[in-house]
């Protein structure tokens, strides 16, 4: 009986230790922690910007109007209602992209922090339906941090590799993206 108890205890301890030191489990949590750090930094920046905006609204008439005008400009860019200009990258896939590849690529570009995206000179906004038939050989333009975008797209294990495609990615100092039609 004692021997049985000892064996069971030993197995329990072993499985508990294995659970703790399981590299898969630890690396999942490590990745989550890294994402949390990234998101929390973004949220703190947002909080600081909003605080600044609130202070401006509470100060002189000029300041409050300037703050509102700035907000309008930002939301026009976000909604795609206006033509925009800025640095970024141009992506030219060397072969046909299936719908799922397009969805994953645009999703990844948004995650990296793209300010504006267009496919074949059609602005991509919140409700753009991505379909391979609409974009048989797409040229994608992205306004954002060109170095970060290029690296995320082209590095080993990067987005292009993840979606199983091949593409020419070129950084641009100035891209012009049209407004939503």
């Amino acid at each position: 009986m004692i021997l049985g108890y000892a064996i069971v205890s030993q197995l329990k301890i072993e499985s508990k230790i294995n659970e703790f030191i399981d590299p898969k489990r630890s690396s999942v949590i490590a990745l989550e922690v890294s994402e949390l750090i990234k998101t929390n930094q973004q949220l703190l920046t947002e909080q600081r910007d909003l605080q600044e905006q609130k202070n401006k609204l509470a100060s002189t008439d000029n300041d409050s109007e300037e703050s509102i005008a700035k907000d309008i400009e930002k939301l026009k860019i976000i909604s795609g209602l206006t033509e925009v200009v800025g640095p970024g990258v141009q992506i030219e896939p060397s072969e046909f992209l299936q719908t799922v590849q397009l969805i994953d690529l645009i999703n990844a570009l948004r995650n990296i922090g793209a300010d504006a995206i267009s496919i074949d000179d059609q602005r991509v906004v919140m409700n753009t339906f991505l379909d391979e038939e609409n974009f048989p050989k797409p040229v994608i333009k992205v306004i954002g941090d060109s170095d970060v975008l290029e690296n995320a797209l082209t590095r080993k294990g990067g987005i292009i590799e993840q979606i199983g495609g091949n593409a020419k990615v070129t950084t641009q100092t100035e891209l012009v993206l049209p407004a939503v039609k």
Partner: protein, 239 residues
Amino acid sequence: MFTKEKRLKVQMTIMLAIVGIGIGWLFAVQFKTTPSRVLNPVTPYLSLTQAQATLTRDQDETKNKIKALKKEIDESQAQIKIQQKSAKTMVEELEQLKDKVGLTEKKGKGVVVTLADSSKEIPNIDSIVHAADLRDLVNVLWGADAQAISVNDERLTNTSSIDSIINTILVDNTKITNPFVIRVEGDQKKIQKVLEDANALSDIKKRVKSEGLVFNTEKLDVTVNEFGASFSVNFAKTK
């Protein structure tokens, strides 16, 4: 021939040998599981889980502060609209834009889609919901002219992404868990028709049949939350 005494001796010897082997095995396992290095493998794991809990708490707190700030800003802008004639038109334009980009709650007719892991005891890659399933579903819903969409109450906007870390799904870097409830405001008939189209979401529908993945749709009056965070534009400028 074995006498009774001899048989007993043999049995005792076998018993002792089994006990001996058992104890020997225990010692061996004990030595094997004891880390030979000074590092305690449990400590980094605990540090990670503690960091995860602290950062999650911090994130919730910052989100609440952002929510409160946004409310105060909305109130200030509403006051400015009344008090400053020159700013009235600007504030009205801003209100329309806020509505367009997802910064206001939406209520109306719509559809609620539930996508959930299969109840199978032993899950496999096809029996659980992946971020890619949600991305495909959302794309199809936009194609059906959806006006507003939220996934587990996280409002989707022009900057939204749905990603995963192994099996954890994130909407705009906020962790969401199974079951996944997608609230869609829009034309109920049109949305339902697209969702029922055999060619749409064929992979999900195949796994519903083969693995018991849950995919339900219901026409309802829906409330789609407003986007909880704010937007930042760092590189694009209006021309």
